[in-house]
Amino acid sequence: MAVLNSKVPDGHISEKWTNHKFSIKLINPANKRKYDIIVVGTGLAGSSAAASLAELGYNVKAFTFHDSARRAHSIAAQGGINAAKNYQNDGDSVYRLFYDTVKGGDFRSREANVHRLAEVSNNIIDQCVAQGVPFAREYGGLLDNRSFGGAQVSRTFYARGQTGQQLLLGAYSALNRQVGKGKVKMYTRKEMVELVVVNGKACGIITRDLATGEVEKHSAHAVILATGGYGNVYFLSTNAMNCNVTAAWRAHRKGAFFSNPCYTQIHPTCLPVHGEGQSKLTLMSESLRNDGRVWVSKKKADMRAPGDIPEDERDYYLERKYPSFGNLSPRDISSRSAKEAVDDGRGVKGGEAVYLDFRDAINRLGQPAIEEKYGNLFEMYETITGENPYKVPMMIYPAPHYTMGGLWVDYNLMSNLPGLFVLGEANFSDHGANRLGASALMQGLADGYFVIPYTIGDYLASEKPELIPTDHEQFVKEESEINDLVKRLLATNGEHTVDEFHKKLGRIMWNKVGMARNEAGLKEAIEEIKEMRDSFWDEVKVVGGAEGVNQTLERAGRVVDYLELGELMARDALERNESCGGHFREEYQTNEGEALRDDQNYTHVSAWEFNDVGDWTHHKEDLNFEYVKLATRSYK
């Protein structure tokens, strides 16, 4: 296809990456210091990239809107990180990790990228251990593993329930070392608000300082976005409060294609919403499903306390519908089943929650055994809800958690805009239509430590060392446009707060572009979002000024972008007339209610080109499955 060249190298799948590393252009060590690279984002992907590029000799400028690189959302990941080490001797291999990831992604990812991910997974663990990341160990002193997210091998490395924290602090330490050496210049509390493109190439960014309000221009030879996912379009999600799509979206508006925005992952085990004031949702580790049994009452709007509902009036619906996987059924299936029960009026007291019950496990194994396994999680549950899960079943409900879609990138992780690279959750590349547990941390670090340090050279080698100066007319124009946007937002004087708009959008997205979608609902969503977009400027009120801290203004700018992204997600979902992974279209299911893929017509990546607000051109990148044969998932 002419517009989208994935640049996947030739050769056998197991040799592509090796061959590619050999054939791409290199920059000699002495010349690397002539190149400046902007890295936006200091999560796992951004920190690891910034540190590794600086080690190679490039001049790196790293940006984050946080007050410190260490606060990125990656810090909150609990479960673990996959790697094909096969330390447990249970038959794992690079090929098996590759195979599981392609299959888990429901055959909607690029085989070559996934294979590379599996190949470098082992290096990641070595790297982290060398940095002093305190992974869990066995009595003999070697690294411990556990199985995660339905995998049949134990390949997940973990650091108690704080794996993301420890990995991020590792990458942050590598970054700190380069900051100390002066090879990385660290810019904190700076939000990227625009991408600057000159002669068709990305060459800089505009930032706004969140403490002073100052708008600044920064130029470089290449720009890397590692700015995370867009799950907060739903308002309520497990993402950190400040995660947002602005960096990716503004780049999209400047020409970078957005791929598969409708692929979103809903996590089945989160704490339910307690009321209108709820600000975000908390994930409870999936490992709980190893011993907890999920159920609802057989009766609608059953107001009885759980203990008063007798055994034969309970519906253990996962065990009933999926006898072989039961409570461990994959994320999308478990989430959808919970929604079905709730839609049927059989949620806890008729509301949006289902029970996760440990009664039988406690009777079988004893409370101490359960404490030993899940003590922290039970404590966390009690802190938040005020209820003791040893006595009363937990209440859980699915919540938006991860976004597989993102900016389109080729095999080099470069977007269709030359000079713009995208790493981590912000790109679309490796997880297809569904991400497996413990694979996002792996991808972020693979991209940052082991892919971009090589592939960026392929681009920079043909770039001249001269920088586009920040007084270039394009920089000046972008800067003044941002100042105008700020003024326009501050000039609003409607009745509604920014959060009210965001919540309203979130409701539309959750109800119509959430766990299950259908044509009518998606069309309604598109209309409703358009209306909201029109009324936003008249009805919103943004208080405060342009100088100094203005958190309302920060959020307003992000909501402006969500109001455009939301529509694209609905359009993408509407265009994809099939069900795959996290994208479930009610019209496309088997008689048993299973997702029905359409490999004939939809074995492709969708890539949307921005023309104007609400107007996109749809491009496709065809996917070929040469090594993992297309097959239907079955968890019956």
């Binding site: 070595d126 704080q162 602090l169 950190a240 004031g277 938040i384």
Partner: protein
């Protein structure tokens, strides 16, 4: 869940910018006991914005007690009255109808106030830049299982590594000392084999920057440990002091 709402009087520190005088302002709020403390502030801000008033600036991100962004002094205690949690994990069921709650920023010379309840903790990063790492480049490292590490040693290193960099220890200390924070990082590496080659240089560099940044000295009152949301132990301070003394005694090339 869903008990009756409670009414509270909040006395919140308002300060427009870094170099202006601040003061406490009173707000009356009604809130569900199931709300978190920060959700209560969200609701207050939403109503302030509706009235066209400047909302209270405060920071948070994960709201799960792991990122270290949040941090308020509540009724005189960093992170509030419940031990071993961060501000974002505090829920309103810990308060009673009619209570008055004083809300202030983390105060310390090294943490200048930016606005209202927001402070600048960049000094923590500066200490880390000076030595909070193991000097390895990406790639070319040994296999992860090449060096076994005793399970209990790994666990102890983990206990130290669990610090979330919130700064409550500094806010709790009458000298605004950063010893608990710095010693947690020094200890993590000092315990692990990977941290050995730079053990002494690291502690010297980090302590030097810590002093330069205006953190006070440690007089062993252990208020830090009591307020730390992650239960970081003052044992780390002793370990760091030991490393520091030894580092002064040995020359770099020994």
């Amino acid at each position: 869940m869903s008990a009756a709402n409670i009414n509270l009087k909040l006395k919140i520190w308002r300060q427009e910018g870094p170099n202006v005088v601040g003061n406490f302002t009173d707000y009356d709020v009604e809130v569900s006991p199931d709300s978190s403390f920060l959700e209560m502030l969200d609701e207050l801000n939403n109503s302030l914005e509706k009235e066209g008033k400047d909302p209270v600036a405060f920071e948070s991100d994960c709201r799960e007690g792991i990122c270290g962004t949040c941090g308020l002094v509540i009724n005189g205690q960093p992170h509030g009255p419940v031990p071993k949690i961060a501000t974002c994990q505090l829920h309103m069921r810990n308060f009673n109808n009619g209570d008055t709650i004083w809300i202030e920023p983390f105060r310390a010379k090294a943490f200048p106030i930016i606005k209202d309840l927001m402070v600048d903790r960049a000094a923590f990063d500066d200490v880390m830049y000076a030595g909070g790492f193991v000097s390895v480049n990406t790639g070319g490292v040994p296999d992860a299982n090449e060096i076994p590490i005793q399970k209990d040693v790994a666990a102890e290193a983990f206990d130290a590594a669990a610090c979330i960099g919130c700064g409550a220890c500094v806010a709790a200390c009458k000298n605004a000392s950063a010893m608990l924070f710095v010693s947690a990082k020094v200890s993590q590496f000092s315990l692990l084999p990977q941290g050995q080659p730079e053990k002494y240089e690291r502690v010297q560099q980090m302590v030097k920057v810590m002093d330069e940044k205006g953190f006070g000295s440690c007089t062993n009152t252990y208020a830090c440990e009591a307020e730390c949301p992650k239960g970081i132990s003052v044992k780390n301070i002793s370990r760091m002091n030991r490393d520091y003394l030894v580092s002064k005694a040995v020359s770099k090339t020994v």
